[in-house]
């Protein structure tokens, strides 16, 4: 199909889609209205489980099964990308690195911010039930935070600090832990992913039952997944190359 024909087909399809969508959108309740039936049910349910962050409660407690499905999508994409990024037949691994020059100020800022970022990521994961945050956000912060080592130092330092196998196991462990907490709920008679643990006081760290455990499991999984993905991409871009000498 030629390019012109493709664009013509797209124009026709897009026009029809836009017309349908605009008609649909004009039938929605006005922006900013107060008609939100889901909210009217979700907020009292979350408060009755003593969870201060209603969004985390929905993700890990009220609709935990959806999060389980999304977690497995994440696992499958990371596994697929890691499998696809193998060296091809005519490439060899471990091509020697040609080091660049790093400004001293970059190095200083990187080394100073590395422990701060890791701590912030950990805090975001563990306080998911109280403040905005949770496993997904904190996991991404942790996973990208460790790469400050690459920004501030050298690629070899990063390679030593993140053994790849460890993070692949970590990802499987996170998903498995989520499933285990769910099965524990099933065995105790509360249904799969039922909230079993004591729910504590509203607003304290150890409140809201199993939301903390599930948030930690998702945090481990997302952090490991991001590290594995970035490791494969960095490897491909920096280490793997054709056999011809540069």
């Amino acid at each position: 199909m030629t390019r012109g024909l493709r664009l013509l087909l797209f124009a026709g399809g897009a026009a029809a889609t836009v017309v349908l969508l605009v008609f649909g959108v004009l039938g929605l309740p006005h922006f900013g209205s107060s008609f939100h039936p889901y909210r009217d049910h979700a907020v009292p349910a979350a408060v009755s489980h003593k969870t201060a962050n209603v969004v985390s409660s929905i993700n890990f407690d009220l609709r935990g099964l959806d999060t389980f499905g999304e977690e497995t999508i994440l696992l499958a994409s990371v596994v697929g990308a890691a499998v696809l990024l193998r060296p091809a037949e005519d490439e060899d691994e471990k091509r020697p690195l040609s080091g660049g020059r790093i400004l001293d100020s970059t190095r200083l800022v990187g080394y100073l911010l590395l422990p701060v970022t890791l701590l912030i990521g950990l805090d975001t994961v563990l306080h998911g039930a109280l403040t905005p945050g949770g496993g997904f956000q904190g996991g991404v912060v942790l996973g990208t935070g460790i790469h400050l080592l690459y920004v501030a130092g050298s690629y070899q330092a990063l390679e030593r600090a993140r053994p790849e196998d460890l993070f692949e196991y970590g990802e499987a462990l996170g998903t498995g832990a989520f499933a285990c907490v769910g099965i524990a709920g099933l065995l105790a008679g509360a249904g799969f992913l039922g909230n079993l643990l004591p729910q504590g006081a509203f607003g304290s760290l150890l409140s809201s039952g199993s939301v903390l455990l599930l948030s930690a499991a998702v945090g481990v999984e997302v952090a490991s997944g991001v590290v594995v993905l970035l490791a494969r991409f960095l490897d491909q871009a920096l280490r793997v190359g054709k056999d011809t000498p540069r």
């Binding site: 929605l28 969004v55 990371v78 697929g80 109280l130 905005p132 991409f233």
Partner: protein, 116 residues
């Protein structure tokens, strides 16, 4: 103002799709896909917004819970959506890299000619 956010969401979706259709580079197409996905986030969050309401978090120190907050349900959906689409984007980029390795080009117009 009543429907402006919804129209912006539709606009984002259509312009993302247009970018994919006219793209000369598979990696550029993946970037345009991210724009189209952003349209769905904007639509979800615009549906859940309420004028004069706060965020659905009663953090620590805990404030008194009230029902006058924006809808937390669509926020939960958008949140997991953002992270999972990033990993799917990674999968698409890995595919593009492999296509570049095997065919030597990532131009979609040239790729369809390399058959047989």
């Amino acid at each position: 103002m009543n429907v402006y956010p919804y129209l912006v969401a539709v606009f984002l979706l259509v312009i993302g799709a247009f970018g994919i259709a006219r793209s000369h580079n598979l990696i550029h197409a993946v970037g345009c896909l991210s724009v189209a996905q952003a349209g769905t986030y904007v639509l979800l969050l615009a549906v859940g917004y309420q004028h004069g309401a706060g965020a659905p978090v009663f953090g620590s120190p805990a404030s008194t819970p009230t029902r006058n907050v924006s809808d937390p349900f669509v926020q939960a959906m958008a949140l997991t959506d953002v992270v999972v689409s990033a990993t799917v984007t990674a999968l698409l980029l890995a595919l593009s890299v492999q296509i570049g390795k095997r065919h030597g080009t990532v131009d979609p117009d040239e790729l369809s000619a390399l058959q047989g």
